[in-house]
């Protein structure tokens, strides 16, 4: 088997992924703005091939800096699988609570509540938007809050499918009138990238 699944990405493909995400975000932003009653600054997504180490470092930062929280959620459809990872700066919690009309106490439980609401919105909107354009119906698993119940470094070390390099779409969200700062990472498994590239090539032709 020459299934060495070398993940590659040419410039056209990169632009295409970026455009795809842009459109998805555009659709979502409009609806998000209506729901939150605040304008979402449309981020320019970054499309990159990242190394496992980069991700490990990013996640470890969440672990060491208590001022960060993270939620991850798996998605799969048409044989394309990946995980969405929302990295969230804790200083944003009070602003976020205002925005979401959350009036409970902002203790650990309150933060979890907010984190879940925001991640549902941001992750859902993005995955759905991308799925619609590629005509893929993505199923989503239940979100998992990282760092609260599991040690993040173990989480990555014990990964059943060790990977070296994979496709990551990074979206940095900010919001007008509010100090909100979070990153959404869409990570695809190595074997999914080839399938995704096929879909993209079809769009490019």
């Amino acid at each position: 088997m020459t299934d060495t699944a070398t993940v590659s990405l040419n410039e056209d493909q990169r632009d295409c992924y970026q455009e795809l995400t842009n459109v998805a975000m555009g659709q979502a932003a409009d609806r998000l703005a209506r729901l939150l009653d605040s304008y979402v600054v449309l981020p320019i997504p970054k499309v990159n091939l990242i190394e496992a180490n980069d991700l490990r470092m990013a996640i470890q930062e969440v672990e060491t800096e208590s001022a960060m929280s993270a939620v991850c959620q798996g998605f799969i459809g048409s044989g394309i699988a990946g995980e969405a990872l929302l990295l969230f700066n804790d200083t944003s919690f009070s602003d976020l609570a205002n925005l979401m009309n959350y009036d409970g106490e902002l203790d650990r439980h309150g933060q979890l509540e907010l984190l879940m609401d925001v991640s549902s919105l941001l992750i859902g909107a993005c995955i759905q938007g991308i799925g619609e354009q590629l005509e893929i119906h993505f199923n989503q698993g239940h979100p998992v809050v990282l760092g609260q119940h599991c040690r993040v470094d173990e989480l990555l070390q014990n990964s059943v499918n060790p990977w070296t390099k994979t496709l990551a779409i990074e979206i940095h969200y900010t919001m007008e009138q509010a100090n909100i700062d979070c990153d959404l990472l869409l990570l695809f498994t190595e074997d999914s990238v080839a399938k995704l590239n096929n879909k993209i090539n079809f769009l490019l032709d």
Binding site: R31, M116, S120, Q128, Q140, V145
Partner: protein, 320 residues
Amino acid sequence: MADSNIEIGDIHWLMAILQNIDVGLVVLDRNYNIQLWNGFMESHSGLSPQVVSGQNLFDQFHEIPRDWFMKKAEPVFQLKTRTFTIWEQRPYLFRFKNYRPITGRASVMYQNTSIIPLESIDRSVNHICLIIYDVTDIAVSRADVETAQQSLSERNRTDILTGLNNRSYWQEEADIIYRQCQNTGVSSTLLMLEIDDFRNLQRSRGHRTADEVIRSLSHCLMETVQQEDLLCRYDGEVFALMLNGVNSDDARIYADHICKRASEVCFEPIGEGITLSIGMATFSTSYNGVDDWLQAADKAMYHARESGGNRVSVFASGSK
């Protein structure tokens, strides 16, 4: 399946699947009135579809907070996106009994839920579907792991005979105090305490009685130390006590007091008091780590013992 023509017969078995699948399915309309209620929901709630159909969700199930739930459900209607709740947020949406009422160790069913949009033919979302997953086993085993980890870490730091800190834990904590002394210049004093003639006691009264004496002494010490002090059973009949933030004068008073008290208090297993040899060393910048400090106190204790016991010796730098 989407493009095939579904016949009446097919609907029949599709309904059977819906009815028998072991996850909860509920369809709600825009006003949160119940439109579909599958077999799982019927069995666990004890309410038949006929009873709940058309009823408002919040009127029927008071355990679901309206505002909370609408925060999750409104985006589904408005954004056509899915939302989720997990048991860490709220253990359950519907208050159902554990699926294993006899051997299960939780009284309620822990639930994860997905809320998904159901598009009409005109692509508007007028209905949403609630999917209820039973995750009781996950929640219970998570709690088990946490309890186990906690008891492990407690066990790791406790001396079994006395319930005091053990030596390794004490040394970690003592190291922190050592560094505090170094950084802040506030002095602390380290005491090593040894029961005099313990071997004799063991020989004449047996190991069990000797153990009882160790346990009694540890209670006696625990009663006299402050919360910020650090006490452990160091080894056999030797205790180490770090008097946190206590200078040598005050430590001396304390050490004399404990020495006197031990000789006066009646230790029940032997019906009389015991005598102690106590070595004392106050922090000095000449100590190269907490081990050095321990050694100084140990030397002083040796001196107290060699001088006949039942006394306090102070380590003076320069003494051998």
